[in-house]
Symmetry: D2
Subunit: 334 residues, 4 copies
Amino acid sequence: MGIRVGVAGASGYAGGELLRLVAGHPEFDLVAATAHRQAGQPASVVHPQLAGLDLVLGPTEPDALADADLVFLALPHGESAALAAGLPETVRVVDLGADHRLRDAAAWQRYYGGAHAGTWTYGLPELPGQRPAIAAASRVANTGCYAVATTLALAPLVAAGVVEPADVVVVAASGTSGAGRAAKTHLLGSEVMGDLSPYKVGAHQHVPEIKQATGAVSLSFTPVLAPMPRGILATVTAVPAVAGADPRAVLAEAYADAPFVHVLPEGTWPHTAATLGSNSCHLQATVDVDSGRVIVVSAIDNLGKGAAGQAVQCANLMVGLPEQTGLSVFGVAP
Amino acid sequence: MGIRVGVAGASGYAGGELLRLVAGHPEFDLVAATAHRQAGQPASVVHPQLAGLDLVLGPTEPDALADADLVFLALPHGESAALAAGLPETVRVVDLGADHRLRDAAAWQRYYGGAHAGTWTYGLPELPGQRPAIAAASRVANTGCYAVATTLALAPLVAAGVVEPADVVVVAASGTSGAGRAAKTHLLGSEVMGDLSPYKVGAHQHVPEIKQATGAVSLSFTPVLAPMPRGILATVTAVPAVAGADPRAVLAEAYADAPFVHVLPEGTWPHTAATLGSNSCHLQATVDVDSGRVIVVSAIDNLGKGAAGQAVQCANLMVGLPEQTGLSVFGVAP
Amino acid sequence: MGIRVGVAGASGYAGGELLRLVAGHPEFDLVAATAHRQAGQPASVVHPQLAGLDLVLGPTEPDALADADLVFLALPHGESAALAAGLPETVRVVDLGADHRLRDAAAWQRYYGGAHAGTWTYGLPELPGQRPAIAAASRVANTGCYAVATTLALAPLVAAGVVEPADVVVVAASGTSGAGRAAKTHLLGSEVMGDLSPYKVGAHQHVPEIKQATGAVSLSFTPVLAPMPRGILATVTAVPAVAGADPRAVLAEAYADAPFVHVLPEGTWPHTAATLGSNSCHLQATVDVDSGRVIVVSAIDNLGKGAAGQAVQCANLMVGLPEQTGLSVFGVAP
Amino acid sequence: MGIRVGVAGASGYAGGELLRLVAGHPEFDLVAATAHRQAGQPASVVHPQLAGLDLVLGPTEPDALADADLVFLALPHGESAALAAGLPETVRVVDLGADHRLRDAAAWQRYYGGAHAGTWTYGLPELPGQRPAIAAASRVANTGCYAVATTLALAPLVAAGVVEPADVVVVAASGTSGAGRAAKTHLLGSEVMGDLSPYKVGAHQHVPEIKQATGAVSLSFTPVLAPMPRGILATVTAVPAVAGADPRAVLAEAYADAPFVHVLPEGTWPHTAATLGSNSCHLQATVDVDSGRVIVVSAIDNLGKGAAGQAVQCANLMVGLPEQTGLSVFGVAP
């Protein structure tokens, strides 16, 4: 008998990926999934890739999740706190939304608006000290997709004093699933195929989360929508703080024991397709010949390590399982 | 201690998918993989999606596979027989190439040229009687990708006398990985993105295999290259043999116990993205209002159910495991 | 001083392509464009590819088009007749919608529903006798995109008695712009990239138009949505009516004087990317080795020869210009 | 009788686009095109989008270009000088390769290797003073694709003293046609679709050209290959040199009279699809809220304004035509 798992907000892309991962997890039993407008629909109709899964979506309310020992929340911003409040303290909760990530309530209000719902344990296991913190928590705030890609690339370098925490410049491109499943004209296939388009330039809401998680004190972050369903490629540059440092070696040491973070062989650069469907992050670093800046590139699947995979990794830790359980290190390519 | 598995021809796309599936299989141990020009390279360099896999490719010769109880061959046409001849009879072999699929040596010569290497047990478990035949075989000829998609759609209807075996018309589009990994100008991303292109029109080499497997006696088969890495969508039409037949019901009954073949709910049509990375085949059927033709559409992942997944399914049967072991019913989407 | 041109329904994809072609046309002056919800917006905001075009969209009503000598209608089904009724008879009108294509009111009602708006001159110049008919008309019904691709491939063969008009089977795949610009979940980039999906299987509304234009008496037509913004590839198969006929030669003769229809060199097959942005149709034909069926493949840009380009070609004829004026024979590739 | 034009190196992607533009140019007559291995082939076979063009490729040697008044060179690096030396001084030459762009021979040797072929007039008409310089030149070095996108975004800001010339950070993503038409495994459609991959990180050969053209003195430039055939999106960030500057206003003024450079309305950001097939560059700028950096984004078609379109624009100036002749301001979208 496995851990009984519920997924709230199962009709979106992160929700669908959670259903796929939970249904295939050797120690989890998928007992409930909920949605708003799609409540009453079979999960396999809402997500055709789940043909063969026998599960009907219930309404997004605590009663629909009463059988679960562990609940994933994949809800719009601002809705997690209310639902979580209706779940017993003994039920472990991983929130894939942004509501409980920030420690700074003022930053929350500036970028998201509305009252801050409070701060939960930050769900990035590869940060120093986070594995035991997550294992001990009953409420975990899963990381934002851009924050994962950027933090894994940058945090060890800031912590080691290899780069300056000021004047960090990040340009990160994401597949379209990162923009969600709501029907919007600018997200139509006709518009996005063959297209690269920046958005929220100069003021993206992931900035405070990235600064909090990486230790950066000044961050220029430009996100770009790329013509692919999944994947994030983050190009992270920072001014070196010491002469002659080897950023790749620092990263390799930081992640020596991390099963999902791979610092690639020298001369090999990450690319997003290699991480599709996996929970892996690929990293590489160098020092720019002309500017002397440290450049780190990281690649993840935004729905994997950037959302649902990361959430399952945290949940594994919370219930005492090996963190890899039910997750794939390997991507689906080509 | 699991089944010791080797993969010959591991540098191509089917080979890479075999490595992914075997490395993630709970009962298989990946002990060897071989290649021609890439021999000596780490598998994770040849296939970046396998970062974290500790395996170096050996040369494609029997000695490199001496530790294996079970060998998958993913070699160019015409090379399987020689390698298989160098493996002991006790080693189980699944050949993903075309060499041993056809019963008719003349048809082999007409479409492939050269001497026919002989006929092995046909590796399509969902055909009547094939599960026990595969389980008893030590040599299995895995199906061609187009043949799987077409046969699963058509064979039960021919067998049930619902459609005429003459005048079958199939148009099937495939993702570009079906065309292989050799560097060719017409397969460059710049050429294939945004493009649909037919090829081998009027004379594709899968025609005799499809006729053999489906019972069709006259087949017009047109393959099309589509701008996506994976997936086959086959549109199969045939003249009804009886009035008022319900082709969907015939298919649903034929596959009632098949874990990987899903006849979708009425009104829902298969699409390829829903099968990505899985071993599933999605089917739907109707009768055309104007022409009265039966139309069946099937979708698979050409590297999954169309190649490596199917091969693992056969191998599971050959070694006495449940056929689903290590394979996913669910696709990676979006 | 050129022909003064208006475009009604300029906010959709066909409308945007009309604006591009009219604005670049050496003899046309773009004097007005209209939209429903986007009225009041600059055309270059609604269509970012038109940056530099100084034109604000007006409301879709006759007054907004009062300055035009020639009007293109790119409206939803059922709206063309009312608007056209408000335009003087001296104003030439090309309707890109379906309202006035069919001669058979009963077929209209069966496939579209509602009252039939009447029949206008059919805007496919390459059909025998259509150039003078279009030149003499003040009201022209532009062809449907699938109908153009199929008719150019099939009509000369039926007319020449080379193929039987019964048992025609067509599978045609279209880029997503053919599904329009309304925001729908199944048309999101995340859903369509990497995906082939059939739709309206067994009962597409273009069937009566194709039968009317080609002379086919029985037609199985299956449309498929393909992961690219533009392009249609139609695979048309028919039973030969005579022995030894050469379908390619028949097509080459039929289109010897057509500037936009190219029967490719033998052994070369059409592909959609080669027609992007052009008004060309590429054709090739063969006889299937196994079935003996005639197979013709045609490729067009669904917004070019399949919609806006074709409409401009008709308009050129209507005002006495060479049909090629302002249109490109060459595609934008890669 | 128009200007007689030849294209050397017509079999690649830039060469194909040159053929398309020259063949459609109202004042140019395409009299010759050459290739290496493809010599003897019809241009319409090498470039299927040119079906209908009656031209056979000749060998790449001066005699094959003897009829031309104006020659475009689209040759591999290092081959332009030798061919140009064989052409009379009276023949105007635009070199799309890198050979003659740099003024600094040492920089050439460091990034390209080999002897420097000399410096020609730099073919970026929008730089101050370049239009008359190009008009007076008989030899023009066309800009590199990344250099165009970056320079148009940055040069006016450096020149106006709005940003510091040091610590410029650029991340630019390009469609795959920028990587050329040679058959390479990592450029196969199967590999690039769904993929973003950085390359030449820390040491791209366009760095010295960009520094020369923009006035930047320290440049971190990271190029990324994106899953689309065409388009460059450059994200250019720089430290402000003055408080309260308005970078968008500076750009708008700099390009007030440039027909191909469009500073978009405030709040609207460039995206590559809007420039497809055109010679336009779209720009937008802002100041980052957190870091205070100036961020400019520019979008071009790498084969249009980034190569062939730019070359035709230069050629127009050289022969005394309006620079827009035969070029489109509008993109082909969606």
